[in-house]
Structures are given as C-alpha cells and as structure tokens.
Symmetry: C2
Subunit: 501 residues, 2 copies
Amino acid sequence: MSIGMKSERIRSEAFLAKVMSAEQAAKFINDGDVVATSGFTPSGYPKAVPLALAERAKNGEKVEITLITGASVGPELDGTLAEAGVIKRRFPYQTDGKMRNNINAGNIKYADMHLSHVPQYIEYGFFGDIDVAIIEAIAINPDGGIVPSTSVGISPQAIRNAKKVIIEINSSQPLALEGVHDIYITEKPPFRKPIPIEATADRIGTTYIPCDPDKIVAIVETDITDKVRPLGEIDEDSKKISKHIIKFFEGEVAAGRLPENLLPLQSGVGSVANAVMAGLVESKFTNLTCYTEVIQDCMFDLIDAGKVTMASGTSFTPSSEGQVRLYNNIDLYTKHCVLRPMEISNNPEVARRLGVLSMNTAIEIDMYGHVNSTNIMGSRMMNGIGGSGDFTRNAYISIFTTVSTAKNGDISSIVPMVSHVDHTEHDVQVVVTEQGLADLRGLSPRERARAIIENCAHPDYKAKLTDYLDRAEALPTKHESHLLNEALSWHAKFVETGSMK
Amino acid sequence: MSIGMKSERIRSEAFLAKVMSAEQAAKFINDGDVVATSGFTPSGYPKAVPLALAERAKNGEKVEITLITGASVGPELDGTLAEAGVIKRRFPYQTDGKMRNNINAGNIKYADMHLSHVPQYIEYGFFGDIDVAIIEAIAINPDGGIVPSTSVGISPQAIRNAKKVIIEINSSQPLALEGVHDIYITEKPPFRKPIPIEATADRIGTTYIPCDPDKIVAIVETDITDKVRPLGEIDEDSKKISKHIIKFFEGEVAAGRLPENLLPLQSGVGSVANAVMAGLVESKFTNLTCYTEVIQDCMFDLIDAGKVTMASGTSFTPSSEGQVRLYNNIDLYTKHCVLRPMEISNNPEVARRLGVLSMNTAIEIDMYGHVNSTNIMGSRMMNGIGGSGDFTRNAYISIFTTVSTAKNGDISSIVPMVSHVDHTEHDVQVVVTEQGLADLRGLSPRERARAIIENCAHPDYKAKLTDYLDRAEALPTKHESHLLNEALSWHAKFVETGSMK
C-alpha cells in the first residue's frame, strides 16, 4: 500500500490524498452520467469501481448511466452493471452474455459502431459531455501522466474530455508493461495533421497518456485480474480456412501482387482468427508484421517462431494460458509489440497507407458478397461490428471467413441474401470457408455468386443456392438478381422450423 | 493543325511523328484488351478514338474490351461502345442509358466499386495488365508530361501502368485550364507516405501527369466537346432539403460542434446535391471550402458570391450553361478550384483528416438507417456507389438525402428494409427528406426508426411504417427487429402492382 508515501506506481505524494476505496470513488458517478472507460476485449478495463457502483444499485439506489468503452470488457464492468440495471445505453461493442441478453430484450439501448468512429465521437461532442472517465493504469507519473495496462482503447480521448477522472491502479498488471504503449492523439479538424506512421514498428508518441492532475478525483488500488478465457482448441475447419488463406497469399506473392513478406496482417478477435494466424507458424513466410486491434496467443507463437518482427494493436488479448506466457516473457513480447490508442490502431488513414491484409469473421455471407457480422437472423445482436469495417474498407486485400454451416448444418452461412448487412459487396474481396476460397476481385455480381456457391458453400446447400440464383437470373433485371419474395425465406424458415434445409 | 511543327499544345517536335487520325490510333486497341481512360462525369473523357473503335465493331470486326474509367463518361465512350457491343466488362461507375440497359440486360459485366479503390486496383494489378490508356489532354509537354482537361480521375494510374498510351489533344478544351490540376501519386505499400494535404487549398504535386514518352503510341487531335447536360431547375423538394441541412449546420455551430465556417463540404453528383449547395448562397455562412469529387454549377455561384474560397475536386461537372460560364470566367474559377487525381479527391485519409461534411443522395433509406444508393427494387442497377462511401465513411458528419416518395407517391423512399445496402447503419448519421431531418447520432436502432419515420417519411406511409415497426418490436428479439416475411414485401408489392401503397 502506498498510504503516506509515493510508490513505484503512484509517483507523486501529491496524489496520495486522492487514494480512496472503490466505494468512495464510485460516489463520483451520478445518475444520468455518461461514463467512458478503458478496456478493449477483457483487457485493461476498470474492475473495482464498477463493482462498487453495482452495489449502490443493488442497494436500491437509482443510478443509470451511458457506458462507452473501447470494445468488449470483462464481467466486472459489462456483466455486473448490466445485471444491476445500471447501464441504460451502451457504445460501441460488447461480448458479455448478460449485456447481450439485456440488449436483445430491449432493456439496454445499444448502438453498434465502427471502433475508429468512437474516439472522434468523444472529441466532437457527439456523445454529449463525458462526465466521468474510469481508467485502469499500472502507474501515474508525477505530472499526471497515466501509464495504461493491457489495453489502450479510448482512454486518451476519455481522459482528455472527461470532467472527472478516476484511476484504478491495478497491481495484478506488471509494471514491466511500461514502455509498450505509444500514445498519439490527433487534433480535431480543421487542425488535424497526418499521422506519421509509415511502418508497423514506428513509434510516434509517448509511453503514457497525458492527464491534467486536477481532473483526477480518485485513485483506487486494486489487484483484480483481467478475466481472460481459456484457449479454445483449433478445430479442423479453422485449420482448413487457414490453409486456403495461406495458399492464396502464396499465389499473390508468386503473381507479384504481394511482397515476399506480405504486408501487415490484421486479424479479428476469436478462435477462427487465432487459427488463421497460427497457421502462419508452419508457413514459409518470415519477417511478417501485424497491424491489428488485438494481440492474441497466436502472435506469441509467431514471435517465438521468429516469424513476426513487430505486432501493433490496442490490446493484449491472451487466453488464460497466454496471460501466464505474456507475464513470464514480458520483456520479449513487449519488445516485439506496441499498444496504440484505438484511434490509431484502427485508423483508416494508417490501414490504407500500410496496406493491411484484413481477415475478419462473418456470421453469414450472401452469394453477391455482402457480409453480416452482427445480427443473427437479421435481428439478434451478437457482439458488434468492432473494427472489421475500419480495416476491411481500407485494406490492400479484404478477406472474410466463416464456417460454411452452423447449428449442426441447419444454418447455411452462405445465403441468397444476408439478413443484415455490415460490409457491402463493395468492401469484400475474398470469401473463405472450410470448403474453399472465392476471389471476388473484378467479378460482376453474378460471377461472384457462382464463385461463392462453387467454392465456399457447403455441399448440402449448393443445389438450393444454385436453384435460387438460376431462377433470379431468369428475371428481366440481370445485374444483381433477387427473388424479392424469397430472398430472406431461408432465415424465416429457420426461425419457424429450426432448419434452413 | 500541328503537322510539321510543335505547337502550343504539342510542345515537342519529337511527338509530331505520333500524330495520327483517330481511326489509325484505334488500331492500337486489340480484342480482349483492358482499356483505362480519362474522364469523370461527362468531363475530360476521350471521344474521337472510342468513336473510331466503335466503327470497327460496326464494320463486323470482333473487338471486345474491358473498360475502366474514373466515373461516368459521355456518350461517345460509354454509349457508343456499349451499343456496338465493344464493352464486355465495365468498372467502376456509369450513368449512360445504353450502358445501363446493357448492364441490366446481362450483356455487360459491371462491378460497381468505391471510386477510391479503383486507382489502387490498377496499381496493385487486380485488374490484370492495363493494355491501353486513352487520355484526353489539353497539351503534352516536351518531356511527355500530360496536361489533363476538365477532369483527372484515374489518368495518373492509367498512364503509369498502361503498356500503350493514346493521347487525345482536344482543342475545344481551353489551354487556360493549365495550372488548375494538382497531380500527386502515392506509392504502393509498403512504401506509401502520408499524403501531405492539411487544408483544402494545399497543392502538393505537379500541374501535369508524368508520362514516359516512349509509351505514347498515338496522338489524336480533336475538337469534340464534353457532352454536358442542361441545368435542371431546382424544385421545391430540393429547396426544402437544403433548408433542413442549413438549419442543422446552424445548430451544430451554435452547439460548438462545428466551426463558424463549417468544415470542407462534400456533395454528390446530381440535382438535389446541386440544390443543397445552392442553398448556401443565401445562408449566412462564409469562408467555406469544398473537398469533393465534382465541381458543379452551384460552386460557381458560391465562388461568385464570395462564399467559397477554395473548391477541390477531380472534375469540373458544369451544365451546358455552366460550361459557357466556366470558359468565360476561367481565370476566376481556376483560381478558386483545384482538380486532383481521384485517388486524392476521394482519399479516406484526407477526407477524415479534413473532416468533410458529406452530403449524398440515396435511392431509398430504411428505418434503421441503411442506405441503398444503387439498385432499384434490389436488382436494377441505376448508376453505382461512386464516391459516396469514400466520403461517408470518413466524414465528420455524414448526411444522406432523398425525396420521401418517388413515382408520384407509389414508392416510399423510407422503407422497413432497403432492398440493397450500399451504406450501413454504422455509416449514416443524418437522414434528410423534404419532410424533415433525423439526427441519428448516438441513437439505438429502434430510436433511429422512430426518428426517421417521424421526421423523414411521407405522411402517406407513416402509419404503415409505424405498424411494421410496432409489430417487429413485439417479437422477442428487440435490438433491430424485423419481420423476415415482410421486410421486403413493400418492394415485392411494387414490382407486382406498381405501387407500395
């Protein structure tokens, strides 16, 4: 404890007067407040203060807030507060079961946003005033500089714009993380300058987030750990998807359309994404870089194998096994990684300049190449679009992956028309399932349809898809033909009967 | 004529040997070729050589090509070649009636692309080799530098990547255009640098497009004019839309969310867009800038009124009246305008940095905020997405406009679910019809639906939309509720009965 004297983590005696319990700190949050927090995936999010806030609600107090985070966060924040009825409005991404259920039950108003838009919304005032920022940190510098923990997310903008800042100093997060962060904040238009990143490894900022010390109203010490999840085993379908992608990359290199060491890889969150990247360990590719959101276990494998020289993200997102591995080899991994604000990790400017190869997962993909990433059967919110659009839209090549069926074959992930569109035909260049890969570049809609059905659909659904397409193409309008009365009938049938078959 | 000696337009005697007739030049184009041309809107596109090429086909020769342009082009290129059966594949945008009919009849394979993606596709080799570039110019410099005419479009990339270059020197285009262009070409990743534009007026390149003189196989002299169209009168609906937007901007300035002189305006092609901008002439706003694709008549009004200090685009797109006005006041307008390659005019990096206020027109918009810009009743291609996505996605505020009904009220432009998605709910912040304006920022899907129905739908369709929404919201899944069996029934009904009513 730091009571009475400054410490390794609280680096000025001036801050000691602000050290208090989570319960005391939570009192700075008022009913109706807009609260912006650190956290991206279950990494680096505040824990003690949200738990204390939930207690107030459980004890009968009316305290309802708008919660803005970087992306998903752990159960102490999203789960507990959703369950206690504290969160009334939520931006921009979530994965917590309790949060999701409350959104789909209509209890929480949720706006699913491109992650790169969120820091701007804060800066531009589109969320209104930010009343409180709650930021997990590993240390506070004497000038108020905040050293983040396992993620950066929206913390720079939350701190800059909040009226009050609460800091959780988390001693479960190793101080050795210090130095891995690279904090750069853009100005608002018309004063914004080019972001001077020209390569994945470029460092352009500071290792801490600047913070006006007078805005810090509370400092809470805690040791609650990031609630990371066990590593899922890589299944056969994911391995096949990975192999199709690596073969595709090899072909692009052979054709002279990609450099030998590819271009910076971007890969979404999740097990398929993890598997795709893991497949690169066995590949002939070397000297790779990654410009992405999340640094998952596969990245440690790639660093260990000497395949990846530098990975840039906005969070470490390890499994429980990966967390141990990160902490035990922290000097190695922080040397090859950089954590940036999500305004920079997900920035269209940087993604396009570097030419990222984007790889993201879809819930379903239609035969013309539109992608649904968010709403099951058109209406049930899963997680959100996250950063997939930020990268896809600005990628050198944009790739979407999905297993060709779900629910034991009762759902085809390739459908005539997706029930919700998150990425349009204009943005999707390559579609991959365990069945194969369809390269859509330069194809007309009807050619795309044939390629996707032929290469990516599950054999159980190929005839049915082809039949739909044949009949649609027989209509007078032959650009991107649809049977309007049937386009969503596969989904309607599933909702009614439990199967698209 | 320049036979025998260099001229004001052909600035080296070395090029005189390459001057030939359009018929001779057209012979450099072979069956199966990929042809990339200048032109953006009916401005600055090649005319004489395409007409000669069409003659070859009309005389029975098999000559089929892939045509890539900046955007739409005039009838000498799209119309004549489509009619003659010369174009088999077309990228990325078109507005010609004959071209459109051939696309929808299934005769021409058309891929509708984000305009900002096209220059990259050329550079990255995704279209395959570019066999021939045909470029309209006002002059050729002694070193081969090509001075474009009324548009720039993809000409820099077409010239850099084509095996053969054909130049049309068009004497109907005034030499006084020289100096208005600002040509900057990015390198491919991993060598790409920040684009150093920090304000609309910044000039970062040359006034000509560099070209290896050895690649120039033919120079054709012509005087065929750009086929611009008469100016449409501004109708009452467009005036109302314009007023709603200006009032919105005034509110944003008052709230401190926009500077007094706004931010760079972007406005799509067409009469509604023209009307919106024209409305600014009467507004109190001054010292405006425009960072957009097309410089239309309204911009001349704004320059004349001293409202706009600088307009950046990739083409002059005047009406026939505007063309006379441009040529008669060319020194004034070129002083306040800059024409850039469309890689730069439509660049996500620059659009986001400058913070453009994007205003684009929709065919239809659904209650959750998805936009259809391209396919009528889900299948019939109108023009294409053009640059609307480039700007929308990276805008400070993205606005979509549409008149609330079409076909004398038989089509509602506000529908339960759009029949084709070009811009997703994540990208659309403000919806405007003549009925009113819905500000969607920060709203959940169901709140967006109420706001759009209330403010934007035509009174004839409000009850029907509300009924759909009420019944959808009664389903167990309440995030973005849809009745899967009914979502597209409005379109199906229109196709069947001729009315959505």
